[in-house]
């Protein structure tokens, strides 16, 4: 924050870099969700379909 308490507007370069970083983080999070989902399925194997009878 500046001396006067206002945040100056970002330059186009700063905005572009921030947008790309945000997209990269979003991509990484989505990829991780998919990875952990697939790994969970792989570790559980066919057993995931076996439910205890009530």
């Amino acid at each position: 924050m500046s001396k006067h308490g206002k945040i100056p507007p970002l330059t186009p370069e700063q905005e572009r870099a921030r947008r790309r970083r945000n997209l990269a983080i979003a991509f990484a999070i989505v990829a991780l969700c998919i990875l952990f989902y697939v790994v969970t399925m792989a570790k559980l194997g066919p057993g995931i379909l076996v439910r205890p009878s009530i």
Partner: protein, 310 residues
């Protein structure tokens, strides 16, 4: 305004980073990471029994990210050295694209994340080995050995040699003699590989204050040690075939590669002056990369083939 100026400002204006995702990727040392993935894959394929492709892929990914994390920690700590050397001055931290604190946090977060992921996906022995590898590279090598002894890359080379052991442990839950032989190959390969480069770049290392072998013990002693390590490397390179966990194709490749390495090391030992000496050293440097790649490529190829045909 350049990114460098951003981090050098002394007023109270906001320091908005101009770093791109590619700059963060560069912090992971992608070329080293690709070598780590390759050697780890070889270690993983040595494992007896079937491999779950999903678990294997996730484990290799975690190992690769762990290696990248240690690279980021290295770049954070060595930014002062990197800024002095032409080979490294364009790295994100010395170039001013990423602040040192950001590189540190990036490396720490990825370290923890990769270790925990490997523990959950594979097993905690592999995760512990990965944690030790990151610690060894970032703390033992980067913070301690690199600036204090000409044996830095000899001992520090262990960090680069661990990935096959980690990957084998991820696949089996144990450490085997076979994976330790792969460790030994990379470990003994490291000194002649790096010292060949250091012979040519000794003035840069000297300017940066890094006590590499040529700066401390002299070029002649370095040439002798390169030859001795190469003479040791050649038989160790053949060991996987002699011990029965690699085929005759591997054995022939290792013998031919080992002979080429010894011939080049002898040339480096004999040609001590001027451009001819530099050329011989750089030839050894590049051929050593091909040599290590060839050995592990044969293991990966024949083990993959065996799994496909099984």
């Amino acid at each position: 305004m350049s990114a460098t100026q951003d981090y050098n400002q002394t007023d109270a204006s906001p320091r908005i980073s101009l770093a791109e995702p590619g700059d963060y990727f560069a912090l992971l040392k992608p070329r080293v990471m690709s070598l780590v993935v390759f050697t780890a894959l070889a270690g993983m394929l040595l494992a007896p029994g079937p491999l779950n492709p999903v678990i294997a892929f996730a484990s290799l990914l975690a190992i690769a990210v762990g290696a990248g994390a240690s690279g980021a920690l290295n770049m954070w700590y060595d930014a002062d050295i990197d800024a002095v050397m032409t080979r490294t001055r364009t790295r994100p931290v010395p170039a001013g694209k990423i602040a040192p604190g950001e590189a540190l946090m990036f490396g720490l977060v990825l370290s923890v994340f990769s270790v925990v992921t490997l523990g959950v996906v594979a097993n905690w022995l592999a995760a512990s080995l990965l944690a030790f590898t990151i610690f060894f590279y970032a703390v033992i090598y980067t913070m301690w050995l690199k600036r204090s002894t000409p044996q830095n890359i000899v001992i520090g080379g262990a960090a680069g040699a661990f990935p096959p052991v980690v990957a084998y442990a991820a696949a089996t839950g144990e450490v085997s003699l076979a994976s330790m032989v792969l460790f030994a190959i990379i470990f003994i390969w490291t000194p002649p590989h790096f010292w060949a480069l250091a012979l040519v770049k000794s003035s840069e290392y000297g300017r940066a204050g890094v006590p590499m072998m040529p700066n401390v013990k002299g070029a002649d002693r370095t040439r002798l040690e390169i030859l001795l390590y190469t003479l040791l490397l050649a038989p160790v390179g053949v060991a996987p075939w002699m011990m029965g966990f690699a085929s005759l194709v591997y054995g022939v490749t290792a013998m031919a590669g080992g002979a080429a390495m010894i011939a080049l090391a002898l040339r480096v030992y004999r040609l001590r002056q001027g451009q001819a000496g530099d050329r011989a050293a750089m030839q050894l440097f590049f051929v050593s990369i091909v040599y290590l790649f060839a050995l592990f490529a044969v293991i990966v190829a024949e083990r993959s083939l065996a799994r496909v045909l099984a």
